[in-house]
């Protein structure tokens, strides 16, 4: 940990220290195996539940720890120092729960958030489809109302925690004619007839996490599982991303920190030409650039969290900025870490190459970094147009 004072509360520091110990004791010894074999870290999530860490982002009223977005992001960041395959499985619970937190009724919050807070159940968010990625408005899964039920049909793709989660928030079209305003969000529970899981994906990185298809075939969902009103789904998804993106940024910060730690440790002990390689100015400058990137990524991520926690209405821009920036930082710092370790960095026996493989997803999921720049650009246009008035 660096000397920088981030103004964290005593509770947030406690979360960080406890999860740092958890990372050293529990994640480090198994991360290579989880990665190689693609094992979902169910045992680790269960232990995090026993530690009261699954409900950090949930209000006390529903059994959570009410640590805010900053507390949650500090947790995600700390786990990410050790493995982002584990930390995304942890964080995807919040992503799945966010639509309920943002738009759910009191009954829905009581029913669905409480078991997520204890870690008794896990959550997942289902938006992406084979033909609807960046263009989230193009989803084809339909929900047709029939009496007091909605009938869901369609396939979701690349759903994090798919198959492992119990509670799914699913986007489906209820009125095709209205386009993005005809999309609605539903809570679907695992085990509902007509809700099956497709193939589990084999991935470049975050191989410990589960990424799977969700298949709906005449799946009957009670009408009371609709979140908010019909047509609110797209807006809910966008608001969800506004508050979930700092979590992805936190993954980038933690991953980059882990890579920097490893690179500096290695550079201090690796001797070439009769001296440790860290004695070379060229290498020091490389490490200095890496360290600056890590700290600036952390700064913008914490700034985004504080902005959300302060109750700011429109957080799209800062949220997209931190996600985009920290994702790019993670890719660059992990790539440099491999370079610092040289041949050892390239070998599977050392964790550097895994970090580099893992980093790539951060520039892709929860909106590619190109989409983030779109969001930032759109926000700038709006901001300056209103100033001009």
């Amino acid at each position: 940990m660096s000397e920088i004072n981030w103004g964290l509360t005593e509770e947030q520091i406690e979360v960080r220290d406890m999860l740092d110990e958890f990372g050293r004791e529990r994640i480090l010894p198994v991360r290579a195996e989880l990665d190689e074999k693609g094992i979902f870290p169910a045992d680790l999530l269960n232990e995090l539940a026993q530690m009261d860490m699954m409900g950090l982002y949930i209000d006390e009223a529903y059994g959570g720890m009410h640590m805010g977005h900053l507390g949650f992001s500090v947790a995600v960041e700390t786990l990410s120092k050790y493995c982002i395959g584990v930390s995304v499985s942890f964080a995807a619970n919040a992503l799945g729960a966010d639509p309920i937190i943002i738009g759910g009724s009191e009954e829905q919050k009581k029913k669905y958030l409480a078991p997520l807070a204890t870690g008794e159940k896990w959550a997942a968010f289902g938006l992406t489809e084979p033909n609807a990625g960046s263009d989230a408005g193009g989803i084809a899964t339909t929900a047709v109302k029939k009496g007091d039920k909605y009938i869901l049909n369609g396939t979701k793709q690349w759903i994090t925690n798919g198959g492992e989660a119990d509670t799914y928030t699913i986007l489906a079209v209820t009125n095709k004619a209205k386009g993005a305003r005809g999309v609605s969000c539903f809570i679907v529970e695992k085990g509902t007839p007509g809700f099956e899981f497709g193939k589990k994906e084999d991935k470049l990185g975050i191989r410990a996490s589960a990424t799977r298809e969700l298949i709906f075939q005449d799946c009957e969902v009670p009408a009371e599982n609709l979140i908010g009103r019909e047509g609110m789904g797209f807006l809910l998804a966008m608001k969800t991303f506004d508050i979930s993106r700092p979590g992805i940024a936190a993954q980038g910060v933690g991953l980059a920190q882990g890579a920097l730690d490893m690179a500096v440790d290695y550079a201090r002990v690796r001797h070439q030409f009769g001296k440790p390689i860290i004695a070379n100015q060229g290498l020091q400058w490389m490490l200095a650039d890496m360290a600056m990137k890590v700290e600036t990524a952390r700064a913008i991520t914490y700034a985004a969290c504080n902005t959300i926690d302060a109750g700011t209405k429109d957080v799209s821009k800062i949220s997209a900025m931190c996600k985009c920036y920290a994702g790019d930082v993670a890719m660059s710092v992990t790539t440099d870490a491999v370079q610092v370790l040289g041949g050892y960095g390239f070998m599977k026996e050392y964790p550097a190459e895994k970090m580099m493989r893992d980093a790539k997803i951060l520039q892709i999921y929860e909106g590619t970094n190109q989409i983030q720049r779109d969001v930032i650009g759109a926000a700038l246009i709006k901001e300056y147009a209103s100033k001009a008035k």
Binding site: E10, E11, E14, V15, M18, E21, F22, E25, R26, E47, Q50, M51, D52, M53, M65
Partner: protein, 261 residues
């Protein structure tokens, strides 16, 4: 079921060195931890509580800073903590410590079903306080316990031996010392840890326990330490080389020569 776990705060022995001039332990700046075997005793207590319900109380005798160890125990899941501390208790050997701790256990209101200790402390390594307390308190003791199951009237305990294990049935109340292989330690819990930071930990001193003054502290300790020293390191090593089969033959020959085999 009421379980009391006696824990000791010890210096993290990995980080302690001996001053070769004075033969004293360099303890300055060395972090303190819960004696590792006591952590296994606490984990055994917590697992019994998870399964059968009840209450786990941790007791530690030591200087005021031993409170830290008790707070750690609370964050792991102990329900209550008691610090036994008084300047007059200082310098106690295992006999005086056992006597003093027993007075504290007798002061606990609820009847105790099980008293647990680590098999020994990593600083003194005597393994005497557990049996000492069992003696003064007047309960049967099984040392080196690896497993403990609850039976109708007491406990069924697996005791580790050099060649395997003994299986004992013991009536409650009873006392055990616990080995490392007994369990895997759990991680602390966030809610409990935050509560532990603010918990009021009662401190029982001389006036609370009302001991026989001749049986406590340095003056009440029959053990006299003659000398503390680091044993000289004599390395008389020999490294064999060659084909494994030949090396084994040579090794056996050498061990026979030294009458080890």
């Amino acid at each position: 079921m009421n379980i009391v776990v006696c824990i000791k705060q010890v210096p993290d022995s990995d980080k302690v060195t001996i001053d070769r001039e004075t033969n004293r332990l360099n303890r300055a700046g060395v972090p303190s931890i819960i004696n590792p075997f006591d952590e296994n005793a606490l984990e055994m207590a917590l697992q019994l509580k998870d399964k059968h319900g009840g209450k786990v109380t941790v007791v530690s005798m030591g200087p005021p800073q031993a409170e830290e160890a008790l707070r750690t125990a609370l964050s792991l899941g102990a329900d209550e903590a008691i610090l036994v501390s008084d300047r007059k208790f200082g310098g106690a050997d295992t006999w005086a410590t056992s006597y003093t701790l027993t007075l504290a256990l007798k002061k606990i209101k609820e009847p105790i079903d099980l008293i647990l200790f680590g098999k020994q402390a990593i600083d003194g390594d005597t393994a005497q306080v557990g049996p000492g307390v069992a003696h003064f308190y007047g309960v049967p003791m099984i040392t080196y316990a690896k497993e403990c199951e609850v039976t109708e009237n007491g406990f069924r305990v697996k005791q580790v031996t050099d060649r395997g294990y003994n299986l004992w049935e013991i009536e409650k109340p009873a006392a055990l010392t616990v080995v490392k292989e007994a369990n895997e330690l759990r991680m602390p819990n966030l809610r409990k840890k935050l509560a532990a930071k603010k918990a009021e930990i009662p401190c029982w001193g001389f006036d609370d326990l009302n001991p026989d003054e001749e049986k406590i502290g340095l003056s009440g300790s029959p053990t006299k330490v003659n000398k503390v020293f680091a044993p000289p390191i004599k390395l008389n090593k020999e490294i064999l080389s060659g084909e494994p089969a030949d090396m084994v033959k040579e090794l056996i020959f050498k061990l026979r020569e030294k009458k080890v085999l």
